[in-house]
Symmetry: C2
Subunit: 144 residues, 2 copies
């Protein structure tokens, strides 16, 4: 968990942006153990994957990542328009995900708008809400 | 603003649920003045309408409602699976919107999953994040 802690030199916004990057690194890792360190494991956290119904509580959220990871061979996520706001012990990040996935049957490229809410608990910013929704496809730019 | 204030007899969760209902009442009213009382008018609030890009700050959010209201003759929104969680001065609500809209050219019925984040400011729960995304259509139930 130490990688999520807030070093004293960091502003809260920098720490939240780092937590957001850690979330997408865990997503790309396809490693459930890594994803488990990102979320606050409470029964009131929520997650909406693009086009999915609401998932409520860590048990449902964990199972969804298990399914996604089991059905994905590789995923690469580039972020653009990353925007963050901190209000005391809560913060949210809005960002556009450029997701390239490889499945057994081929590739998929989608554009997703995400809102991620983080809660500061024991010195670490933990994910409590992930709401991701499909965006219309756009001409490709130079996204990193 | 008094309609958004928290009466002493209400729990914070009840007050947040009431604020959420007020948001949808303002949406149904198609009245910009009513919608203006719902949002915290800061430059860091965010709004994602289904399939739209991120809107950032009250000016962009206000303009989006102006456009939506100008292009809608009537709208009815029934909510289901309304779920709320309060963390101190911040709270979020997840709910499914069953939206029926009447335009100049006809009717539209859509199912939307929404995450609404509220911030307690001067005794009133004000909307700071609205992220709404399309859900696949489902067989109709008895939704109120």
């Amino acid at each position: 968990m130490s990688s999520l802690a807030t070093p004293h030199a960091e502003t809260p916004e920098q720490a939240v942006r780092a937590a957001n990057r850690s979330f997408y690194a865990a997503f790309e890792s396809l490693d459930l153990a890594q994803m488990e360190t990102i979320w606050l494991q409470e029964d009131w956290i929520e997650c909406v994957h693009p086009g999915w119904d609401l998932l409520l509580g860590w048990e449902e959220v964990r199972e969804s990542w298990m399914r996604i990871f089991a059905n994905t061979q590789r995923v690469k996520i580039a972020l653009s328009s990353v925007w963050a706001h901190v209000e005391g012990p809560l913060a949210w990040v809005a960002c556009t995900e450029h997701v390239t996935s490889a499945f057994a049957t081929g590739f998929d490229e989608v554009l997703v708008q995400a809102t991620n809410v983080f809660l500061l608990r024991d010195g670490a910013w933990r994910l409590v809400v992930h709401h991701a929704s499909p965006l219309p496809a756009k001409p490709k730019g130079t996204v990193q």
